[in-house]
């Protein structure tokens, strides 16, 4: 059982992510009060972040183990990293529109986590395979890198918005919603996984493709505006920044996973599906980085690439288990 104290803190964090979402949205209503409302939104988010930090630490103390052992706990970490990542970016770059998207992602993760069955919420002892100090070296970098890649994808969306690529933006958002729905249904419903796999994979192929095709359609009113251009440039840069933080973390996570595996059963790589998926994500971001260096793609195209990255991250993190691809790394069945 987990204590009331920890529960209250976790709920505070969840509620403040919902609250900050609405305050960030509301900040767009009035230009006059914008700076004040944005400050409030940031503070609400900060309160949630601090509450979650303490909640995670408390959970670790109560469990007497590193508090990252099942899906529920990893979702808390993901939300924590998303909130923390945004707070850092908003300080360093003064970006604000990313705020409501980051809040939305954190809130969705809280919601997803709270819907999981009680067995996931309870603090339970570890299965023998996970009892190892390698766990705390291997898993946190991965979860944090996933959060960074999410933030990069969201910045990509904002870049598309600010550069007037509204149609491409719509395709990207549609794809993310379709893919997330597949995962939600896969976790909580009894819908045949084959259909859900099809929904996820199909939309991930069709959506970005359509988004690329639609790049030529530009809303001139947005594109021509001075502030939009500046903002588009900024979101492009922020996206790259997130990837350049997420990529080393993913690399470290994959490699330490290999070291753990070699230590435990004498082979650092076994082409387990989740392992392979992490490698797919890694290769994709390596491709993204090389595209950046060569400057062969425009910012808008790179934004769509970062949305594809977001989809792959989602597939690696939640999709492979919930969509029934299976493998060694599943967090355990609970349907």
């Amino acid at each position: 059982m987990s204590s009331d104290f920890q529960l209250v803190l976790t709920n505070t964090a969840g509620l403040s992510s919902v609250a900050s979402f609405w305050v960030f949205v509301a900040s767009n209503a009035s230009k006059r009060f914008q700076s004040v409302t944005l400050k409030v939104a940031n503070i609400v988010m900060l309160i949630g972040f601090i509450a979650l930090t303490i909640a995670i630490i408390t959970r670790g103390i109560e469990a007497q183990r590193f508090p990252l052992a099942n899906l529920y706990e990893s979702l808390l970490w993901f939300a924590w990293a998303t909130m923390g990542g945004f707070l850092y970016l908003s300080r360093a770059y003064g970006i604000q529109q990313l705020g409501w998207l980051a809040s939305l992602v954190a809130a969705t993760m809280f919601l997803y986590g709270s819907w999981l069955p009680q067995s996931q919420h309870d603090i339970t002892p570890l299965v023998p395979a996970l009892v190892s100090y390698w766990r705390q070296i291997h898993v946190p970098p991965l979860i944090i890198s996933y959060a960074m890649f999410f933030l990069a994808g969201l910045s990509g969306l904002l870049n598309l918005w600010q550069s007037g690529r509204l149609r491409s933006l719509a395709f990207c958002i549609g794809t993310i919603i379709a893919a997330s729905s597949a995962i939600g249904l896969g976790t909580f419903s009894k819908v045949d996984t084959l259909w859900l796999q099809l929904l996820f994979v199909g939309s991930s192929i069709v959506g970005p493709f359509a988004a690329f095709r639609a790049l030529g359609k530009i809303d001139p009113a947005i594109d021509q505006s001075q502030s939009s251009r500046k903002a588009a440039e900024m979101y492009d840069d922020v996206g790259y920044r997130c990837v350049s933080i997420g990529f080393p973390l993913l690399t470290i996570g994959i490699i330490t996973g290999g070291l753990w595996a070699n230590h435990a059963w004498g082979s650092y790589w076994s082409w387990d599906p989740k392992e392979s998926m992490a490698l797919v994500t890694w290769l994709s971001y390596a491709a993204y980085i090389h595209l950046r260096i060569q400057r062969e793609l425009s910012a808008e195209k790179l934004s769509i690439v970062s949305v594809i990255g977001l989809l792959l991250t989602l597939l690696t993190y939640l999709g492979f288990n919930s969509l029934g691809f299976g493998g060694l790394h599943s967090y355990g069945k609970f349907k």
Partner: protein, 500 residues
Amino acid sequence: MATETLKTEENQKEDQGGSSDKASTSGIVSDVTTSKTKPEAARRQLSPFASVKLSVTLMSLMALTILIGAGCPQESQVGQAKVFEAFDRQTAEFLIRIGVSDIFHSPWFLALTATMTLNMIVVSFQRVFPKLWQYNKSLPFLRGQDIAKTSVHHILKFASATDSAQPATHQQAALLAELSQRLTKMGYKVKIDGLKLKGEYGKVGRLAPSTTHVGLLTLLLGVTITSWTGFNGFQPILLDEKLNFSDSQHSKLWIGKLPQWQVRVDGTRRENYSSGEAKQWFSKLTCVDDKGKVLHQGEISVNNPLTYEGVDIYQSSWGLAKLAISFNGHKRELDLNPMGKKYACFLPLDQDTVLIMSLTSEGQNLRLFAKRREWQAPKLISEIDAGKTIRLGDVDLKFEKVIPITGLQYKCDPGLPITYVAFGIIMLGVLLAAVPHRHVWVAIEQNMFYIGGNSRKAKVGFERSLDNLVQKLRGEFAFETDQIVDSAPSAKTQEEQNVV
């Protein structure tokens, strides 16, 4: 369209072999790097494998291939039966035929890996490593007019009583000292020459591509050595029997040697939790040569292998294999089947009767049951301790012993130390890639103050930091309120706007 212009411009540069630092727009800044342009272009034309477009394509294809491999159960990992479990018969047969169910050994995957390796080697040597020579070249101090060409810059005018008067020299010196202090605090390495200043930040970031690529090539080396000389396998071995390596697996292209020695299992046991679940398995192993001479000894358990001559032997599974009993002095060995926490064997006595013998994992005492067709459940007949005999009708039944079996996994991975070093280098390299490399220049000329610079990555953060700096200076020193040239993005070229 702005971005399309950019694209063609950049492509032209590519085609001309235009080198490296495209982010630096100031002529002087790129001078340092363009000296390499010509020979590099000549070499590059020689090798079609030196294209980064090709590498991005290969990476994407590789990602796609692995994605497919992750979606289909792999025969070499989980066996062919799983493929049929996951798909209907027709699909499964199709996937097996086209090689998707063993994609990581398919010619396609091997060819892709080979092309990628070639691409990486060529690019690393032709485009990445040569840039290392420029690492220690430092950029010159810049004059005001050059600073005005950098991607982020501010130009201020010193306020003075009379316009023509020079601002006091001590004020200028104080300004530079203040700037130097602030930049140093921000992590810049600062140099001052008269009324000029230059600062550099995150120079180590420039080592990122070379480091990462050295790491990747090292990884390939380690993996290749293992693939050409390493081997591995799994063998269940009965107590007192020997493991030899003749059934081991290795790649088709193999120049390694299998050990001549063997491994004898001298003892093996299981330790339980009080609940009866397995807690740990142990095996006492002895490496012996073909004449039976002892070479090495040790006890292994899960996570705790024995290593001899580069071969690691892991404890990977455990069980009770056979039951040795004798009937009226005739010895027989019966196969045991695992049944939950117990092991059992079945001996049909006649058409309707089965004798069941069951053991717990400790194997200390044997329980005898009989089961007749008309009975609901087996009936316990007797319990026998090891070595004891009981009389059943006119038969003497002796429980001789139980023979355990230990699952030994072994591997020889000669490339592993190199692979581990590679892991370290790669992690270092990608961490370095997160460090943005930045330059700042300052010049004071007459009553004008120039500050500007560039950053290859995280440009917006750089711009903000420079804006902040100028804001603070304005608070502390007397400048005229208007900037001479606005540094808003409108002043920047299209290229700069779109290129990070």
